[in-house]
Symmetry: D2
């Protein structure tokens, strides 16, 4: 089974992502990870307003504020190859439910210059916990995120025989 389009994203390294060594500055990768997670949810069909808090005055009419927050409790990244301004990247996402109230996303960044083999450039990981914002107590993952995780598990199952 082919990877669904909402688990395979693209972005380009921009000038402001680099530092005076001429390459991507390391912590930008973690920003890319979170943006890829948001883009994947949206491409899968989950409206950002269902998952991410926003100013009350700007919430779409009729939509409640999300009852669950999904803060990151752990993140990490491994850097295999320097990335420079203009590098086109392919981002493979592997979301994984850990238990009823937490999940993690693994990100694999490949540099894909036309006419060349894709080259592994970096790996990232973010681990998220579901909590009730007011009490900060753990709770279950929100339904739309559950569905996204289940669909990702099905997609992964197609690649890795059980």
């Amino acid at each position: 089974m082919a990877t669904p389009s909402w688990l395979l994203l693209q972005r380009t390294v921009r000038f402001g992502d680099t530092d005076a060594a001429g390459v991507m500055h390391f912590h930008q990768l973690l920003r890319w990870c979170h943006e890829a997670y948001e883009e994947s949810l949206e491409a899968f069909g989950v409206a950002p307003a269902c998952v991410f808090p926003m100013a009350a005055a700007d919430r779409p009419a009729g939509l409640e504020a999300p009852a669950v927050a999904l803060p990151i409790v752990h993140c990490r990244a491994d850097f295999r190859r320097p990335l420079v301004c203009g590098d086109p990247l392919l981002i493979h996402l592997e979301p994984l439910r850990l238990d009823p109230g937490s999940f993690e996303v693994r990100y694999r960044f490949q540099r894909v210059h036309s006419g060349e083999e894709p080259q592994d450039a970096a790996l990232g990981l973010t681990r998220h916990l579901a909590i009730e914002p007011a009490s900060r107590l753990r709770c279950s993952l929100p339904d739309p995120v559950q569905r996204w995780l289940e669909a990702a598990a099905v997609a992964a199952g197609g690649i890795r025989p059980a």
Copy 2:
């Protein structure tokens, strides 16, 4: 004449672009401006390696380092409407040659929710000066940037009768 696609870009407000007031944090807009300028050049056909410096070890084989740098000497932004996580944006670019050694780019950000009229959200401006990196003396704009500015002038001319 319709606006060419390399002067009309899209992006989405992401969670990390917001602050605790629940809306886009102001200086992120200037980052979006520069990224739109880079994306426009690339969509027009100018390779990033022709304009932006990068680590020597990663420069594409056969490509010289750019002989001209284009630092920003002035920038500004006006904020008309708060932007929240998930807002889809349309970015209109108006690049303008100021003299043989400088140009500016005006950016107009519109929020474009489906089924609604586009709403003006913010304006940005960056002014760039051509310099020789080693001496920091002013020089002429690089050829690819000249061509991009000329094509933008032609495109604008089609909209605004002389």
Copy 3:
């Protein structure tokens, strides 16, 4: 009258503030402006929780959420001299009340290497509007910000004879 310490701040250019041209990436300056504004208010004696929103669960006990938000409606910056990693900066702030519901802050960044004359490096400006967060209607500036603006006007008066 000497400039009070809460209008004269210091910071150092860090590696992540630079880009592949080897100098400070322009939009970082706007971040420094806002951080200097926050630091100035705090050094003057205004607790951040009185001015800036934060997660309800983490608000200091007994402190109400600020009834007024102070979004930036305009910002700009002029860049006079490149700044490199490690450059020690002096930041002069000039807060100015514009009307009962708005103010601006001007920022002057000087590079101050020991044994050398301070050199002007950049200017910044942020303009803020007082609004009620829920209605987004204009309102009066919060008292602590008023006091900070009045004290800044007195300090400026001591330098510039009326």
Copy 4:
């Protein structure tokens, strides 16, 4: 032996570090880690120009560009407690030499409100590899960084009896 001042730093959470959940956005912590590493080196007596690359035109007269780059090959962070705008932080650094050509720095962030016990808020880690910038081949750590690592080992030894 008390922790030397160059291994115990301070910073304050700023508004732009937060997101619409009202708390510090996770990847800012990695930025703080690198800034703490730079500040620690500088406070120990290592000039930034000896370690970090910068624009050739701005290099202090008589100082060569660093012959060694120290890219990050791995980073991670654990988040224990949300941080809000204005939170004063204490940062404990533990630099550790791994082999002749690499080291890591562990960072412990504590929230230290006056009159309260310091509370652990987050842990960070960055792992750095020494390379020659042109060839990207591994090499030995630069002398100033070696001295910093040795002094840190001595300081740690004073606390933890062998």
